[in-house]
Symmetry: C2
Subunit: 224 residues, 2 copies
Protein backbone atom coordinates (compact mmCIF):
# COMPACT_ATOMS: atom_id res chain seq x y z
CA UNK A 1 0.00 0.00 0.00
CA UNK A 2 2.09 2.90 -1.21
CA UNK A 3 -0.53 5.53 -1.93
CA UNK A 4 -2.46 6.96 0.97
CA UNK A 5 -5.03 9.68 0.64
CA UNK A 6 -3.92 12.72 2.61
CA UNK A 7 -6.25 15.54 3.56
CA UNK A 8 -5.10 18.87 4.91
CA UNK A 9 -7.63 19.86 7.55
CA UNK A 10 -7.89 23.44 8.69
CA UNK A 11 -9.44 25.08 11.68
CA UNK A 12 -13.20 25.30 11.39
CA UNK A 13 -14.89 28.43 10.17
CA UNK A 14 -17.52 28.01 12.87
CA UNK A 15 -17.05 30.12 15.97
CA UNK A 16 -18.76 27.62 18.23
CA UNK A 17 -16.90 24.32 18.17
CA UNK A 18 -19.16 22.73 20.81
CA UNK A 19 -22.24 23.40 18.70
CA UNK A 20 -20.58 22.00 15.61
CA UNK A 21 -19.45 18.93 17.59
CA UNK A 22 -23.03 18.25 18.74
CA UNK A 23 -24.24 18.65 15.17
CA UNK A 24 -21.62 16.15 13.98
CA UNK A 25 -22.71 13.58 16.59
CA UNK A 26 -26.31 13.84 15.35
CA UNK A 27 -25.12 13.40 11.77
CA UNK A 28 -23.11 10.31 12.76
CA UNK A 29 -26.17 8.82 14.49
CA UNK A 30 -28.19 9.31 11.30
CA UNK A 31 -25.45 7.68 9.26
CA UNK A 32 -24.96 4.85 11.77
CA UNK A 33 -21.22 5.43 12.02
CA UNK A 34 -19.63 5.37 15.48
CA UNK A 35 -16.53 7.57 15.72
CA UNK A 36 -13.92 7.13 18.46
CA UNK A 37 -11.42 9.89 19.28
CA UNK A 38 -8.14 8.35 20.49
CA UNK A 39 -5.70 10.58 22.36
CA UNK A 40 -2.27 10.01 23.93
CA UNK A 41 1.25 11.37 24.29
CA UNK A 42 3.57 10.90 21.31
CA UNK A 43 4.76 7.31 21.19
CA UNK A 44 2.29 5.79 23.66
CA UNK A 45 1.32 3.19 21.08
CA UNK A 46 -1.83 4.51 19.39
CA UNK A 47 -1.09 3.02 15.97
CA UNK A 48 0.15 -0.33 17.27
CA UNK A 49 -2.87 -0.65 19.55
CA UNK A 50 -5.27 0.23 16.73
CA UNK A 51 -3.61 -2.33 14.46
CA UNK A 52 -4.06 -5.18 16.95
CA UNK A 53 -7.54 -4.04 17.90
CA UNK A 54 -8.80 -3.65 14.32
CA UNK A 55 -7.56 -7.11 13.38
CA UNK A 56 -9.93 -8.45 16.07
CA UNK A 57 -12.85 -6.10 15.33
CA UNK A 58 -12.83 -6.16 11.53
CA UNK A 59 -14.87 -9.37 11.40
CA UNK A 60 -17.62 -7.59 13.39
CA UNK A 61 -17.57 -4.04 11.99
CA UNK A 62 -16.69 -2.25 8.76
CA UNK A 63 -13.87 -0.06 10.06
CA UNK A 64 -12.05 3.08 8.91
CA UNK A 65 -9.11 4.95 10.41
CA UNK A 66 -8.18 8.64 10.22
CA UNK A 67 -4.59 9.30 11.27
CA UNK A 68 -3.93 12.90 12.29
CA UNK A 69 -0.40 14.22 12.34
CA UNK A 70 1.33 17.51 11.79
CA UNK A 71 3.52 15.85 9.18
CA UNK A 72 4.31 12.43 7.64
CA UNK A 73 1.93 9.67 6.57
CA UNK A 74 3.72 6.72 8.16
CA UNK A 75 0.80 5.86 10.47
CA UNK A 76 -1.88 5.73 7.76
CA UNK A 77 0.37 3.58 5.59
CA UNK A 78 1.08 1.28 8.55
CA UNK A 79 -2.62 0.85 9.38
CA UNK A 80 -3.56 0.14 5.75
CA UNK A 81 -0.73 -2.35 5.33
CA UNK A 82 -1.23 -4.19 8.61
CA UNK A 83 -5.04 -4.30 8.84
CA UNK A 84 -6.35 -3.87 5.28
CA UNK A 85 -9.04 -1.42 6.43
CA UNK A 86 -9.69 1.97 4.85
CA UNK A 87 -7.19 4.48 6.20
CA UNK A 88 -6.51 8.15 5.46
CA UNK A 89 -3.98 10.65 6.73
CA UNK A 90 -5.05 14.04 8.06
CA UNK A 91 -2.47 16.81 8.15
CA UNK A 92 -3.34 19.46 10.70
CA UNK A 93 -1.44 22.38 9.12
CA UNK A 94 0.76 22.60 12.22
CA UNK A 95 -2.19 22.53 14.63
CA UNK A 96 -1.75 20.67 17.90
CA UNK A 97 -5.27 19.22 18.01
CA UNK A 98 -8.39 18.46 15.98
CA UNK A 99 -11.69 20.27 16.30
CA UNK A 100 -15.14 19.24 15.06
CA UNK A 101 -14.74 20.96 11.69
CA UNK A 102 -11.43 19.22 11.01
CA UNK A 103 -12.97 15.90 12.02
CA UNK A 104 -15.91 16.47 9.66
CA UNK A 105 -13.51 17.23 6.79
CA UNK A 106 -11.72 13.97 7.54
CA UNK A 107 -14.98 12.01 7.63
CA UNK A 108 -16.01 13.50 4.29
CA UNK A 109 -12.62 12.45 2.93
CA UNK A 110 -12.79 8.85 4.13
CA UNK A 111 -16.49 8.53 3.14
CA UNK A 112 -18.39 6.92 5.99
CA UNK A 113 -21.29 5.52 3.94
CA UNK A 114 -19.92 1.99 4.20
CA UNK A 115 -18.39 2.26 7.68
CA UNK A 116 -19.75 1.20 11.09
CA UNK A 117 -16.80 2.30 13.18
CA UNK A 118 -14.16 4.97 12.56
CA UNK A 119 -11.12 5.52 14.75
CA UNK A 120 -9.72 9.03 14.77
CA UNK A 121 -6.11 8.98 15.95
CA UNK A 122 -5.62 12.49 17.29
CA UNK A 123 -2.28 14.37 17.31
CA UNK A 124 0.08 12.92 19.96
CA UNK A 125 -0.41 15.46 22.74
CA UNK A 126 -1.90 15.13 26.24
CA UNK A 127 -2.94 18.76 26.53
CA UNK A 128 -4.65 20.48 23.59
CA UNK A 129 -6.66 17.62 22.03
CA UNK A 130 -8.55 17.30 25.32
CA UNK A 131 -9.69 20.92 25.08
CA UNK A 132 -11.56 20.52 21.79
CA UNK A 133 -14.67 18.41 21.26
CA UNK A 134 -14.09 16.58 17.96
CA UNK A 135 -17.73 15.55 17.65
CA UNK A 136 -16.75 11.90 18.16
CA UNK A 137 -19.17 9.55 19.92
CA UNK A 138 -16.52 8.47 22.44
CA UNK A 139 -13.23 9.84 23.79
CA UNK A 140 -10.57 7.37 24.83
CA UNK A 141 -6.88 7.59 25.64
CA UNK A 142 -3.74 5.54 25.98
CA UNK A 143 -1.23 6.05 28.77
CA UNK A 144 1.93 3.98 28.42
CA UNK A 145 3.99 2.53 31.26
CA UNK A 146 7.27 4.31 30.31
CA UNK A 147 5.54 7.70 30.68
CA UNK A 148 5.10 7.16 34.40
CA UNK A 149 2.26 6.80 36.90
CA UNK A 150 2.09 10.54 37.69
CA UNK A 151 0.54 11.64 34.40
CA UNK A 152 -3.06 11.84 35.73
CA UNK A 153 -1.75 14.38 38.27
CA UNK A 154 -0.11 16.55 35.62
CA UNK A 155 -2.59 16.38 32.73
CA UNK A 156 -5.99 16.47 34.44
CA UNK A 157 -8.32 17.31 31.56
CA UNK A 158 -7.61 14.40 29.24
CA UNK A 159 -8.14 11.93 32.09
CA UNK A 160 -11.37 13.69 33.12
CA UNK A 161 -12.69 13.53 29.58
CA UNK A 162 -11.94 9.93 28.58
CA UNK A 163 -14.40 7.09 29.14
CA UNK A 164 -11.69 4.50 28.57
CA UNK A 165 -8.05 4.69 29.67
CA UNK A 166 -5.92 1.99 28.07
CA UNK A 167 -2.64 1.48 29.93
CA UNK A 168 -0.26 0.18 27.28
CA UNK A 169 3.18 -1.47 27.34
CA UNK A 170 2.43 -3.45 30.53
CA UNK A 171 5.00 -5.96 29.26
CA UNK A 172 7.62 -3.36 30.35
CA UNK A 173 6.28 -2.77 33.87
CA UNK A 174 9.06 -4.71 35.57
CA UNK A 175 11.58 -2.38 33.98
CA UNK A 176 9.95 0.96 34.77
CA UNK A 177 9.14 2.35 38.19
CA UNK A 178 5.37 2.43 37.62
CA UNK A 179 2.94 2.03 40.52
CA UNK A 180 -0.16 0.62 38.84
CA UNK A 181 -2.41 0.92 41.93
CA UNK A 182 -1.41 4.54 42.53
CA UNK A 183 -2.02 5.35 38.86
CA UNK A 184 -5.45 3.74 38.93
CA UNK A 185 -6.34 5.74 42.05
CA UNK A 186 -5.33 9.05 40.47
CA UNK A 187 -7.23 8.24 37.26
CA UNK A 188 -10.32 7.47 39.38
CA UNK A 189 -9.79 10.73 41.28
CA UNK A 190 -9.94 12.58 37.95
CA UNK A 191 -12.75 10.45 36.56
CA UNK A 192 -14.59 7.98 38.83
CA UNK A 193 -16.43 6.45 35.85
CA UNK A 194 -13.39 5.72 33.69
CA UNK A 195 -12.86 2.16 32.52
CA UNK A 196 -9.19 1.18 32.84
CA UNK A 197 -7.80 -1.67 30.76
CA UNK A 198 -4.09 -2.59 30.99
CA UNK A 199 -2.76 -4.06 27.74
CA UNK A 200 0.34 -4.84 25.77
CA UNK A 201 -0.19 -3.93 22.14
CA UNK A 202 3.18 -5.55 21.43
CA UNK A 203 2.32 -9.00 22.84
CA UNK A 204 -1.44 -8.63 22.29
CA UNK A 205 -2.26 -9.18 25.97
CA UNK A 206 -5.78 -7.97 26.87
CA UNK A 207 -6.43 -6.37 23.46
CA UNK A 208 -9.43 -8.72 23.24
CA UNK A 209 -10.86 -6.99 26.33
CA UNK A 210 -10.64 -3.63 24.56
CA UNK A 211 -12.33 -5.18 21.51
CA UNK A 212 -15.15 -6.47 23.72
CA UNK A 213 -15.51 -2.99 25.23
CA UNK A 214 -16.06 -1.51 21.74
CA UNK A 215 -18.48 -4.22 20.64
CA UNK A 216 -20.67 -3.37 23.64
CA UNK A 217 -20.31 0.39 23.17
CA UNK A 218 -21.21 0.34 19.47
CA UNK A 219 -24.12 -2.06 19.98
CA UNK A 220 -25.55 0.01 22.84
CA UNK A 221 -25.23 3.16 20.74
CA UNK A 222 -26.99 1.57 17.77
CA UNK A 223 -29.87 0.39 19.96
CA UNK A 224 -30.49 3.82 21.47
CA UNK B 1 11.33 19.66 51.43
CA UNK B 2 7.58 19.88 51.75
CA UNK B 3 6.90 23.49 50.79
CA UNK B 4 7.53 24.54 47.23
CA UNK B 5 6.86 28.01 45.92
CA UNK B 6 4.25 27.82 43.20
CA UNK B 7 3.62 30.63 40.75
CA UNK B 8 0.61 30.82 38.47
CA UNK B 9 1.87 32.22 35.18
CA UNK B 10 -0.54 33.69 32.70
CA UNK B 11 -0.28 34.50 29.03
CA UNK B 12 1.69 37.65 28.41
CA UNK B 13 -0.04 40.96 27.91
CA UNK B 14 2.41 41.74 25.11
CA UNK B 15 1.14 41.18 21.61
CA UNK B 16 4.57 40.44 20.23
CA UNK B 17 6.05 37.42 21.97
CA UNK B 18 9.17 37.36 19.78
CA UNK B 19 10.01 40.92 20.75
CA UNK B 20 9.50 40.16 24.42
CA UNK B 21 11.65 37.03 24.10
CA UNK B 22 14.52 39.04 22.59
CA UNK B 23 14.18 41.59 25.37
CA UNK B 24 14.34 38.81 27.95
CA UNK B 25 17.53 37.38 26.42
CA UNK B 26 19.19 40.81 26.68
CA UNK B 27 18.10 41.09 30.30
CA UNK B 28 19.54 37.62 31.05
CA UNK B 29 22.85 38.63 29.46
CA UNK B 30 23.01 41.70 31.68
CA UNK B 31 22.25 39.59 34.74
CA UNK B 32 24.70 36.84 33.72
CA UNK B 33 22.09 34.10 34.04
CA UNK B 34 21.91 31.45 31.32
CA UNK B 35 18.41 30.01 30.87
CA UNK B 36 17.79 26.68 29.15
CA UNK B 37 14.34 25.74 27.83
CA UNK B 38 13.86 21.95 28.05
CA UNK B 39 11.07 20.37 26.01
CA UNK B 40 9.82 16.80 25.54
CA UNK B 41 6.76 14.57 25.42
CA UNK B 42 5.13 13.71 28.75
CA UNK B 43 7.22 11.10 30.52
CA UNK B 44 10.37 11.31 28.40
CA UNK B 45 12.44 11.83 31.55
CA UNK B 46 12.91 15.59 31.88
CA UNK B 47 12.94 15.66 35.67
CA UNK B 48 15.09 12.55 36.09
CA UNK B 49 17.60 13.86 33.54
CA UNK B 50 17.74 17.27 35.22
CA UNK B 51 18.28 15.63 38.61
CA UNK B 52 21.28 13.62 37.42
CA UNK B 53 22.65 16.53 35.39
CA UNK B 54 22.35 19.10 38.17
CA UNK B 55 24.12 16.84 40.63
CA UNK B 56 27.13 16.97 38.26
CA UNK B 57 26.85 20.68 37.38
CA UNK B 58 26.10 22.14 40.81
CA UNK B 59 29.77 22.24 41.76
CA UNK B 60 30.42 24.46 38.71
CA UNK B 61 27.33 26.68 38.57
CA UNK B 62 24.73 28.14 40.93
CA UNK B 63 21.63 26.48 39.51
CA UNK B 64 17.88 27.05 39.67
CA UNK B 65 14.99 25.05 38.21
CA UNK B 66 11.52 26.17 37.12
CA UNK B 67 9.12 23.27 36.66
CA UNK B 68 6.12 24.10 34.48
CA UNK B 69 3.02 21.96 34.65
CA UNK B 70 -0.68 22.41 34.19
CA UNK B 71 -1.22 20.93 37.63
CA UNK B 72 0.67 19.26 40.52
CA UNK B 73 4.01 20.22 42.08
CA UNK B 74 5.59 16.76 42.20
CA UNK B 75 8.46 17.73 39.87
CA UNK B 76 9.57 20.83 41.77
CA UNK B 77 9.48 18.88 45.03
CA UNK B 78 11.47 16.06 43.44
CA UNK B 79 14.16 18.42 42.10
CA UNK B 80 14.51 20.24 45.42
CA UNK B 81 14.72 16.98 47.38
CA UNK B 82 17.13 15.19 45.06
CA UNK B 83 19.50 18.02 44.11
CA UNK B 84 19.19 20.67 46.85
CA UNK B 85 19.09 23.49 44.29
CA UNK B 86 16.51 26.26 44.23
CA UNK B 87 13.35 24.99 42.56
CA UNK B 88 9.93 26.50 41.91
CA UNK B 89 6.75 25.24 40.32
CA UNK B 90 5.01 27.19 37.56
CA UNK B 91 1.35 26.49 36.93
CA UNK B 92 0.31 27.43 33.42
CA UNK B 93 -3.42 27.99 34.07
CA UNK B 94 -4.24 25.17 31.67
CA UNK B 95 -1.95 26.47 28.93
CA UNK B 96 -0.06 23.93 26.84
CA UNK B 97 3.16 25.93 26.57
CA UNK B 98 5.17 28.80 28.04
CA UNK B 99 5.77 32.13 26.35
CA UNK B 100 8.34 34.80 27.14
CA UNK B 101 6.06 36.66 29.55
CA UNK B 102 5.33 33.51 31.54
CA UNK B 103 9.05 32.72 31.64
CA UNK B 104 9.84 36.22 32.90
CA UNK B 105 7.23 35.83 35.68
CA UNK B 106 8.88 32.58 36.68
CA UNK B 107 12.37 34.14 36.68
CA UNK B 108 11.11 36.98 38.87
CA UNK B 109 9.66 34.36 41.20
CA UNK B 110 12.82 32.29 41.52
CA UNK B 111 15.03 35.41 41.76
CA UNK B 112 18.00 34.99 39.43
CA UNK B 113 20.37 37.40 41.22
CA UNK B 114 22.39 34.53 42.67
CA UNK B 115 22.00 32.07 39.78
CA UNK B 116 24.34 31.28 36.85
CA UNK B 117 22.16 28.68 35.17
CA UNK B 118 18.39 28.15 35.22
CA UNK B 119 16.63 25.17 33.68
CA UNK B 120 13.07 25.78 32.56
CA UNK B 121 11.24 22.46 32.29
CA UNK B 122 8.47 23.24 29.80
CA UNK B 123 5.05 21.53 29.73
CA UNK B 124 5.34 17.95 28.42
CA UNK B 125 4.22 18.46 24.83
CA UNK B 126 6.08 18.06 21.53
CA UNK B 127 3.91 20.53 19.62
CA UNK B 128 2.98 23.86 21.20
CA UNK B 129 6.06 24.66 23.31
CA UNK B 130 8.12 24.67 20.10
CA UNK B 131 5.90 27.40 18.66
CA UNK B 132 6.63 29.98 21.35
CA UNK B 133 10.00 31.59 22.02
CA UNK B 134 10.40 31.57 25.81
CA UNK B 135 13.29 34.02 25.75
CA UNK B 136 15.66 31.30 26.93
CA UNK B 137 19.29 31.36 25.77
CA UNK B 138 19.10 27.79 24.51
CA UNK B 139 16.37 25.34 23.45
CA UNK B 140 16.95 21.65 24.05
CA UNK B 141 14.78 18.55 24.01
CA UNK B 142 14.61 14.98 25.17
CA UNK B 143 13.31 12.16 23.00
CA UNK B 144 13.00 8.83 24.79
CA UNK B 145 13.50 5.40 23.25
CA UNK B 146 9.97 4.08 24.09
CA UNK B 147 8.42 6.93 22.05
CA UNK B 148 9.89 5.53 18.83
CA UNK B 149 12.37 6.58 16.16
CA UNK B 150 9.71 8.21 13.93
CA UNK B 151 9.09 11.25 16.12
CA UNK B 152 11.33 13.63 14.09
CA UNK B 153 9.09 12.84 11.10
CA UNK B 154 5.88 13.65 12.95
CA UNK B 155 6.87 16.64 15.09
CA UNK B 156 9.16 18.66 12.81
CA UNK B 157 9.27 22.03 14.56
CA UNK B 158 10.65 20.98 17.94
CA UNK B 159 13.48 19.08 16.27
CA UNK B 160 14.22 22.04 13.97
CA UNK B 161 14.39 24.39 16.92
CA UNK B 162 16.54 22.48 19.40
CA UNK B 163 20.32 22.79 19.50
CA UNK B 164 20.63 19.66 21.61
CA UNK B 165 18.56 16.47 21.30
CA UNK B 166 19.10 14.14 24.26
CA UNK B 167 17.94 10.60 23.48
CA UNK B 168 17.01 9.17 26.86
CA UNK B 169 16.28 5.65 28.17
CA UNK B 170 18.94 4.03 25.95
CA UNK B 171 19.12 1.30 28.62
CA UNK B 172 15.78 0.08 27.16
CA UNK B 173 16.84 0.03 23.50
CA UNK B 174 17.07 -3.76 23.31
CA UNK B 175 13.43 -3.97 24.35
CA UNK B 176 11.95 -1.40 21.99
CA UNK B 177 12.05 -1.45 18.21
CA UNK B 178 14.10 1.75 17.89
CA UNK B 179 16.45 2.31 14.96
CA UNK B 180 19.03 4.70 16.36
CA UNK B 181 20.75 5.39 13.03
CA UNK B 182 17.45 6.12 11.26
CA UNK B 183 16.41 8.44 14.09
CA UNK B 184 19.72 10.30 13.95
CA UNK B 185 19.33 10.74 10.19
CA UNK B 186 15.81 12.17 10.48
CA UNK B 187 16.91 14.53 13.28
CA UNK B 188 19.76 15.74 11.05
CA UNK B 189 17.30 16.13 8.16
CA UNK B 190 15.25 18.46 10.39
CA UNK B 191 18.28 20.18 11.88
CA UNK B 192 21.75 19.53 10.45
CA UNK B 193 23.41 21.41 13.34
CA UNK B 194 21.75 19.55 16.19
CA UNK B 195 23.98 17.87 18.75
CA UNK B 196 22.64 14.42 19.62
CA UNK B 197 23.62 12.76 22.90
CA UNK B 198 22.20 9.35 23.84
CA UNK B 199 21.90 8.88 27.60
CA UNK B 200 20.27 6.86 30.32
CA UNK B 201 19.12 9.16 33.09
CA UNK B 202 18.25 6.02 35.07
CA UNK B 203 21.73 4.48 35.00
CA UNK B 204 23.56 7.80 34.56
CA UNK B 205 25.23 6.72 31.31
CA UNK B 206 26.55 9.70 29.29
CA UNK B 207 24.97 12.32 31.57
CA UNK B 208 28.54 13.61 32.07
CA UNK B 209 28.66 14.35 28.32
CA UNK B 210 25.53 16.49 28.63
CA UNK B 211 27.11 18.27 31.60
CA UNK B 212 30.24 18.98 29.56
CA UNK B 213 28.04 20.34 26.76
CA UNK B 214 26.49 22.86 29.18
CA UNK B 215 29.81 23.88 30.72
CA UNK B 216 31.04 24.81 27.24
CA UNK B 217 27.79 26.53 26.25
CA UNK B 218 27.61 28.68 29.39
CA UNK B 219 31.30 29.59 29.27
CA UNK B 220 31.12 30.56 25.58
CA UNK B 221 28.04 32.67 26.29
CA UNK B 222 29.69 34.48 29.21
CA UNK B 223 32.76 35.28 27.12
CA UNK B 224 30.76 36.81 24.27
Amino acid sequence: MSEIKTIVVNRSAYADNDLEADYLRKYLKEKGTYVVNLMSSPGAGKTTTLTKLINILKSTFRIGVMEADIDSDVDAISIAKNTGVKSIQLHTSGMCHLDAGMTKSGLDGINIEDLDLVFLENVGNLVCPAEFDTGACLDIMILSIPEGDDKPLKYPLVFEKCDLVIINKIDTISYFNFDFKKCEETIKMRNPNATIIPISAKTGENVDKVAQYFIEKVNNWKEK
